[in-house]
Symmetry: C2
Subunit: 180 residues, 2 copies
């Protein structure tokens, strides 16, 4: 296993946009090349370190803050850290970047840009249906806002491109910019 210099790749986008799928493809591909990769996905963190948090604005912000701190810990151990978390508010995008800069860690922001229509028509976990029916509240895109990142390093068109291709786009970016 060889290590990168440590980099966090943060995937922001709506539920069902393909964040985790793309992150998993990247992790598999880079692990095959011998790089230490870590996917910090929202569900895993919510069942552990964020177990006490719900989906209010302040809880979501705190969840993202903790995810960023976990990412920093792994990036400092020279991992390629992949974080597929909705991250709906712009102030969070700013915070995450600032924290990585403070720690002198490389950071790449990926906007997973599938539209609400595309995500809702896929609805892989049936969550949009639940949210439309009122079974879930604070659901991003339905009754909670999603603020697109202002200047992402990469924008992935996951509604039209297959996830493998999107993963390759990110991997190329990481090599071209010498993050790995």
């Amino acid at each position: 296993m060889y290590a990168s210099k440590g980099v966090t790749v943060w995937f922001t986008g709506l539920s069902g946009s393909g964040k985790t799928t793309v992150a998993d493809f990247i992790s598999e591909e880079l692990s095959r090349k011998g790089l230490a990769c870590y996917v910090a996905d929202g569900d895993t963190l919510r069942s552990g370190i964020s177990r006490d948090l719900g989906f209010s604005r302040s809880d979501r912000s705190e969840h993202v803050r903790r995810a960023a701190e976990v990412a920093i810990l792994f990036a400092k151990q020279n991992f390629v850290v992949l974080v597929p978390i909705i991250t709906p508010y712009r102030e969070m995008h700013d915070f995450i970047k600032k924290r990585h800069a403070e720690e002198n860690l490389a950071f790449v922001e990926v906007y997973v840009a599938a539209s609400l229509q595309a995500c809702e028509s896929r609805d892989p976990k049936g969550l949009y249906k639940l949210a439309r029916g009122g079974g879930i509240s604070h659901f991003t895109g339905i009754d909670d806002i999603y603020e697109k990142p202002l200047s992402p390093d990469i924008t992935l068109d996951t509604a039209y491109k297959p996830p493998e291709e999107c993963a390759d786009e990110v991997i190329s970016f990481l090599y071209t910019n010498k993050f790995i």
Copy 2:
């Protein structure tokens, strides 16, 4: 770099008892042997993931809970995770063990047993002096309790043995019990 199967080694003991010193020696020695090690020390976590927490009983418990969750994430990546954190309350010891058991992760509890007198006479960071003078409150051993673990896997006599020797004791235990 080769990986262990993942194990958390948790050091509980008073401030100044030598927890971090011993953990650092172990990390250096095992890293030299090619094992992936991670020292999750309290100060680093308090400047990041626990930044919002103070030293009240509930904040200390939450800090330990988050440290345990971070340890679990690294142990799942096959690290030897070394956690030198005071961990003053017995209910925390139980919680940490339970969480590792739930995740099917190996866990070793180390009691760093230097007495209050020994720790206070060393006072490496000058914290006991501050606490005695009222400059810090909720200081373990002075105006906050420390509950010894009931059945630690290892007890280290850091008041009388040099830290290198204590580190070797832990390393031998890890090999003997096939944790690494």
